[in-house]
């Protein structure tokens, strides 16, 4: 397989943050070619109104059958035709013979965008102070010039959900598109979810003498009381928010607005989803018990133990989808099978639960969002079908966040947000060759390719 094509170092200088230059399959070396790229870039950038035909690709529509080969027509940034017919033309025709065409990948529940270098505090904007911060908003703090974003995009990721952390209610996330000059242009939909980090339900059984901070040690009974208290606080917060929401409905007087309670309104009214982050068995069970009978839209994220015992059934009956972060974590109990987290997505699917994938939202994960397809792929040899794995990183995330009318599959009427790869995207050896967002082709260069080209060109001794 060929290494990915890329533009030379110098031409990258005229590249904006994310509105990069179009790359092509040949390698550019001469100065003349570089000028050509600039010209081409100008053409591409001024071509919003034109029609583009993506021709002869293996089209993974996701929502329907795969067309092999098929054609996709783009008009004004939207998909207008997805067909095996050949009998129409466009202003621009791109031959994708032998390439696979997919809808853009959606990275849910990520620290990407809020973090540059995990080890450097100054570059982290993930965790806020306070237990209940619903009026904290992730999409305002995304750095459009982060070097991490083009790396994710170069492997087909077109939308990310930067997710706030810290406390119980950490804040709200938006869906951010990886194209735009400014944060405002990139905040594609906002807000999309409220983030609740379920209080710890497990017990710390470390004896006092081994406890680092002795003053903080608590007996099992005290811990049991404390977790009940935390649950009560959480429940109270939602009850108070609901009371505020109904007061706001009844009244036209909005002089004494409270930003925290205002932020809660769409969630307690069940208009937007609440993403509950919980991994441990007891925490998941407690969260499901809490959600039961409430009119909230719930999403379970993290979900390490969601495959256990009665949980899949409870998820199904409450119609709660799962964002599974834990494919690449080890089993957490000595009676578990070595592959328990590899198998979890299929166990959930079989149980009637919709499963999307996430690489994880830890600080170190933000640099590796490009591996999203492999997280899904790992579940395949353990039972999940490849189709379901791909849906878990495209259509299902879109459905979970309520944006499936615009992204998540290749269908007429949806945004022309696509990528073409030289093989199936679940295959690690495969490279992405083109990325389009709303019909615009974007660069697949990054800090990685720039450094690669630079040092590859270092003269041999």
């Amino acid at each position: 397989m060929k290494p990915i094509p890329s533009i030379s170092n110098r031409s990258s200088r005229c590249e904006s943050a994310l509105t990069g230059l179009r790359s092509s399959e040949s390698r550019f070396t001469s100065a003349a070619t570089r000028w050509l790229i600039v010209l081409l870039a100008l053409v591409v950038q001024s071509s919003d109104a034109e029609t583009i035909l993506l021709k002869d690709a293996i089209v993974h529509t996701i929502s329907g059958p795969t067309l092999s080969p098929g054609n996709v027509l783009i008009e004004n940034g939207k998909i207008t035709q997805v067909t095996t017919n050949n009998d129409f033309t466009a202003d621009k025709v791109v031959s994708l013979e032998g390439l696979h065409l997919y809808p853009g990948l959606i990275a849910l529940n990520t620290s990407l965008g809020l973090n540059e270098i995990g080890g450097v505090r100054a570059t982290r904007d993930i965790d806020e102070v306070g237990e209940f911060d619903p009026d904290v908003r992730s999409w305002v703090a995304v750095n459009p010039d982060s070097e991490l974003l083009p790396v994710a995009r170069a492997n087909g990721v077109t939308h990310i959900e930067p997710t706030p952390q810290g406390g119980v209610i950490a804040g709200q996330s938006g869906l951010v598109v990886l194209d735009g000059w400014t944060t405002e242009q990139m905040a594609w939909k906002k807000p999309v979810a409220l983030h609740v980090y379920w209080p710890n339900m497990d017990l710390d059984t470390t004896p006092k003498e081994k406890f680092k901070d002795k003053a903080k040690w608590k007996s099992l009974e005290d811990q049991a009381k404390e977790r009940q208290k935390k649950l009560k606080e959480l429940d109270d917060y939602f009850a108070d928010a609901a009371a505020y929401a109904s007061a706001r409905k009844a009244s036209t007087n909005d002089t004494a607005l409270n930003p925290s309670w205002e932020a809660m309104i769409p969630y307690v009214r069940g208009e937007l989803p609440i993403m509950i982050h919980a991994d441990e068995f007891r925490a998941i069970k407690a969260a499901l018990k809490w959600a039961d009978g409430k009119n909230y839209k719930i999403i379970l994220a993290g979900a390490r133990d969601a495959w256990m015992e009665s949980i899949p059934g409870l998820l199904k009956s409450n119609n709660i989808p799962v964002i599974y972060d834990n494919v690449y974590t080890q089993p957490s109990r000595d009676t578990e099978s070595y592959d328990s987290h590899f198998r979890a997505p299929e166990i959930l699917r079989k149980g009637g639960v919709k499963v999307a994938f996430s690489v994880g939202n830890s600080t170190s994960d933000s640099a590796l969002i490009k591996n999203l397809p492999y997280t899904a792929a790992q579940a395949v040899p353990f039972g999940l079908s490849a189709e379901e794995a791909v849906k878990g990183i495209t259509l299902y995330p879109a459905q979970i966040l309520g944006v499936a009318d615009r992204i998540g599959s290749i269908e007429p009427g949806k945004d022309a947000t696509l990528f073409a790869s030289d093989g199936e995207i679940l295959d690690i050896r495969v490279n992405v060759r083109h990325v389009w967002i709303a019909g615009k082709e974007l660069s697949i260069t990054s800090r990685h390719t720039r450094l690669y080209e630079k040092y590859r060109a270092r003269p041999k001794p």
Partner: protein
């Protein structure tokens, strides 16, 4: 008082010849001492385990046993007669391991913690000393072998009473803090002045292999550091003795330094004092044994209570065990779901605990019992009963309380049995004897003095009761007894399986023939289709594309029809921290070359199975990256079920971990870490150069000594740090250097070249692509991550093309895990080299097979499938670089260690065992009936996570862990 004592002893000498042996005459006003002659009549005397005299007579005089026998023994007229009818008399019990703190005396004031902001760096050779030991002694505060319990013994009488109440008359008081703790003292548990109470000073030297980090940032700060410190201290003591010996004979030249710590170890290294090791875990029994043999010590072991994990290691130790009976007890959990937080291993530990003593006996080991670890000593008898119920014979139990501890403590001539001339120490028990829980310890005698232990007066209430009430009571009693018997019967049955169950090779055939399959040889033969591999005696015999006819198949071969499947060499991880007991880092010093990962290999880790299930067969287990010169690494094979030594790749050359950059300059450790040298990349070079120069001097010193013959009489002191660095210079030890930036990589490469050292690998080497030509030219390997980057500043320039680009320029490249998770799918990491930079598939697979083998200098044995090499291989469901492929079987040396088709049954068995144990535990928790107050310590102990399993569910990297 001294003058008084002198007068009394003078008087007693005078009176020896008299008719009536007088005791000390006290000054007027004191109650006069009795004659001290007693006769026990009519009791059942257990002279020693297995030897009983019914209706015996014992005569005691002046604290010693005068006569023992049947009725024919004459009772002297001056004797007080004690009617012992209905009582059993044992030789007084001996506790060989009574902690100093538990008898109410306090130890020396707590050591001051190091003040990290003071601007000094402690602990480095020739640097400032660890301030823990004021005055002469070891430079390490945890090493105090010169401490003597005989010097500080001053018990609280109340605590002695608690021991007497359960029958003990003598105990060996042991120091409790530190790594090398000092010497114990055997004392009578009587209420006499300490000078008289001490029977024998300096009984044992005590060494604990500390299992967990002390997090004080003082060396040693880890288990492996503690072990290294113990080893070095013993070597120092040996040298000290020789040096002082020589100087005494010929006091010329430089005067040797005085060191009470080294001096105190002289009896131990000359086998005149036994050393008790406290290893705290089943695996460390093996380590303690090996160190003791390496140094040449007489030793015994304090049982961790967990030898059931690996009885083979206890058996191999072959020395007596001192066995505590502090069994874990079932705690009550707040809610039913909280059982989810209890591991099978915790349940096993609970279920096995009472059987451990019997299990040690079954290994033919001598055992002595101790009350050590019991918060409430009253639970001792209950737990002893449980141990007997689980197979310990009553004779063995009695021996473990009398003859064995007497022998261990070197007082078998004075204590341990009831015989004329021995100390008049007895344990007197009513009813059916000591092992019956209903029986009472009525009294103990210590040095011929009576101590009442049963404070209960006979109850008169019985008489007042009506016949009806009596009947009711009896019925209730019978009912209770029945219930207790039923409960004991239930407890008697062990449900927990051995952790060894289902481990070890699944199949171990003489020969294996794999037929008609795709083979990635990773050798010159490349990838072969329709190939056949013949394995014999663990080695690859042949690989060919000729098909053996059905009829010609070797008769002794285990035949695998692997059509449609693909075979690769076993994967090799060049950077792994999964198999380390205790901390990954010894961060207490900037150079810890004396620390050895090989001392702390964890053969019980859950990671073994998980990583075998990903096709891994060998791993380079590395020390962390907390210091420029780290500890010695250890290459292992994942031979599940083997002992720690059995896992070692014995043909692999020795190596050592180095580290550069942010970790070693402590820039990520927090603001208080600003005083250790080095704090910059400049300083890293200075530091490493310093230690190598010191090592050169050290080598020269030894060279001179060897050349000039033995006329200097005393060999130079062995310095294990400089010895290890010296081995690098001599080309006997490979360097694996954690690194990121190109500047530090080149610096180290050139520095090592200046000392004539050929480096083996740079690990991580994330900017290796910038200096690929230099690396290739220096023939140093590069073991990198497939795609990790941007997690800290020094890896912002890391690119996933690193591996491919370096390979393109001629560097031997491997991809490593540095993670217990990634080590489960290194084949997928290798696939990333195909994606990033277009390395061919066959070359990419070598990143996790042949190339790491080359880097570890083990490619003669493993890394590719070629005749003559070890038969370490993996059977994959399809192309191993395809993300939908599955590891089906993993073989090491022609033995199968992982078989996916058996996995489901394995899990079912574990789940079944857990369910049964949970049920048993739940019942036990409900019927809790300790004779003492609620045993909080025993319940806390239930939650203990054994050293072997502390990191099963934690992904460890080389970064320093802050707990």
């Amino acid at each position: 008082m001294t003058w008084l004592k002198n007068i009394f002893s003078f008087l007693s000498v005078l009176l020896v010849a008299g008719q009536i042996q007088a005791t000390e005459l006290l000054p007027p006003g004191n109650r006069a001492l009795p004659l001290g002659v007693h006769a026990f009549v009519g009791g059942k005397v257990i002279v020693k385990p297995g030897e009983i005299i019914d209706g015996a007579v014992i005569v005691i005089r002046d604290g010693l046993i005068e006569k023992v026998g049947k009725e024919d023994v004459a009772i002297p007229p001056e004797a007080r007669i004690w009617d012992m009818k209905g009582l059993t008399i044992y030789s007084g019990f001996i506790d060989p391991y009574l902690s100093f703190n538990s008898i109410g005396a306090t130890e020396a004031p707590a050591k001051k913690s190091r003040d990290l902001t003071a601007g000094k760096f402690f602990g480095v050779p020739a640097g400032d000393r660890d301030p823990g030991n004021p005055g002469p002694g070891s430079e390490l505060s945890a090493i105090t072998p010169e401490r003597r319990m005989a010097k500080t013994f001053a018990p609280d009488p109340k605590n002695l009473e608690k021991l007497r109440e359960i029958g003990f008359t003598v105990a060996n008081v042991v120091p409790e803090k530190g790594i090398m703790r000092g010497s114990s003292a055997l004392v009578a548990l009587s209420e006499v002045d300490p000078n008289r109470a001490i029977i024998r000073a300096d009984v044992f030297q005590h060494v604990e292999l500390e299992g967990s980090s002390r997090m004080e940032d003082i060396y040693p700060d880890s288990l492996m550091g503690a072990i290294a410190a113990v080893r070095q201290t013993f070597f120092d003591a040996r040298h000290y003795a020789a040096e002082h010996d020589a100087y005494e004979k010929n006091p010329e030249g430089k005067r040797p330094a005085f060191n009470p710590a080294a001096e105190a170890l002289a009896p131990a290294i000359h086998k005149k004092m036994r050393v008790v090791f406290e290893p705290n875990s089943a695996l460390l029994v093996d380590r303690a044994t090996r160190i003791a043999r390496e140094i040449g010590l007489d030793f015994c072991i304090l049982s961790s209570g967990e030898e059931w994990r690996r009885p083979d290691l206890a058996k191999a130790a072959g020395v007596p065990f001192i066995v505590p009976l502090d069994f874990p007890e079932m705690p009550k959990l707040p809610e039913k779901d909280d059982w989810a937080g209890i591991s099978l291993d915790q349940l096993r530990a609970w279920d096995w605990a009472p059987e451990n003593a019997a299990l040690l006996r079954k290994q033919n080991l001598e055992i002595a019992l101790t009350t050590f670890g019991l918060e409430d000593k009253k639970n001792f008898r209950k737990n002893l009963r449980a141990a007997i119920d689980r197979g310990l014979s009553e004779d063995d139990a009695l021996a473990a309380l009398t003859t064995v501890p007497a022998k261990l403590c070197g007082v078998e001539k004075q204590l341990g049995t009831i015989a004329a001339g021995k100390f008049a120490n007895f344990t007197v028990v009513s009813g059916k004897g000591y092992f019956d829980l209903e029986a009472k310890v009525k009294a103990v005698w210590i040095d011929g003095v009576f101590y009442r232990t049963d404070s209960e007066e006979p109850k008169n209430e019985e008489a007042k009761k009506s016949d009806d009430e009596k009947k009711k009571d009896e019925a209730a009693k019978a009912e209770k007894e029945k219930k207790t018997a039923a409960e004991r019967e239930a407890a008697r049955k062990r449900i927990a399986r051995s952790p060894m169950a289902g481990r070890g090779p699944i199949t171990n055939p003489v020969a294996v023939l794999i037929r008609d399959t795709t083979v990635w040889t990773c050798g010159p033969a490349g990838r072969l289709e329709h190939a056949e591999i013949l394995i014999r005696d663990g080695k690859i015999k042949s690989i060919s594309t000729n098909q053996t006819a059905e009829a010609a198949l070797p008769k002794d071969a285990f035949v695998i029809n692997a059509k449609g499947k693909e075979i690769t060499p076993g994967l090799i991880d060049c950077h792994n921290h999964s198999y380390i007991l205790g901390d990954v880092n010894e961060g207490g010093l900037p150079s810890t070359a004396m620390v050895r990962i090989g001392d702390v290999i964890n053969s019980e880790s859950a990671n073994i199975y998980e990583q075998l299930a990903g096709g891994l067969t060998a791993a380079n287990v590395l020390h962390g990256s907390a210091n420029p010169i780290g500890g010695q690494n250890c290459v292992i094979k994942l031979r599940d079920g083997a002992t720690p030594e059995g896992m070692k790749f014995t043909n692999a050359p020795e190596g050592i971990k180095f580290a550069l950059g942010e970790n070693v300059k402590q820039s990520n450790w927090g603001d208080k870490y600003k005083t250790r040298f080095p704090q910059t990349r400049m300083g890293v070079q200075t530091f490493i150069a310093n230690r190598f120069t010191a090592a050169l001097q050290y080598l020269k010193e030894w060279d001179d000594y060897k050349k000039n013959g033995k006329k200097h009489s005393v060999a130079p002191a062995r310095d294990l740090e400089l010895e290890a660095i010296g081995e690098i210079i001599q080309g006997k030890r490979l360097i694996h250097c954690h690194s990121y930036r190109q500047d530090e990589i080149l610096m180290t490469l050139r520095l090592m070249q200046s000392f004539g050292v050929q480096m083996a690998t740079f690990q991580h080497v994330l900017e290796g692509y910038k200096i690929a030509d230099e690396l290739a030219q220096a023939k140093v390997g590069a073991s990198t991550f497939a795609d990790w980057w941007a997690y800290k500043f020094e890896v912002y320039d890391a690119i996933p093309y690193n591996g491919s680009l370096m390979r393109e320029r001629g560097v031997t490249v491997s991809f490593n895990s540095d993670s217990a998770d990634l080590a489960r799918h290194l084949n997928f990491e290798a696939a990333k080299a195909v994606k990033f930079g277009g390395t061919t598939e066959e070359e990419a697979l070598k990143f996790v097979t042949l190339n790491p083998a080359k880097q570890l200098h083990i490619d003669k044995y493993v890394g590719s499938l070629e005749p003559g090499k070890d038969a370490d291989f993996v059977i994959w469901s399809k192309d191993p670089l395809d993300s939908s492929s599955l590891c089906l079987e993993t073989w090491i040396e022609g033995k199968k260690y992982f078989d996916r088709s058996l996995n489901a049954a394995r899990v079912t068995a574990l789940e079944k065992e857990r369910r049964a144990l949970t049920e048993k535990a739940d019942k036990a928790a409900k019927s809790d009936k300790s004779p003492g107050k609620e045993d909080i310590a025993a319940k806390k102990k239930f939650f203990k996570i054994s050293l072997e399993h502390q990191y099963d569910f934690r992904d460890r990297h080389c970064e320093r862990e802050d707990n």
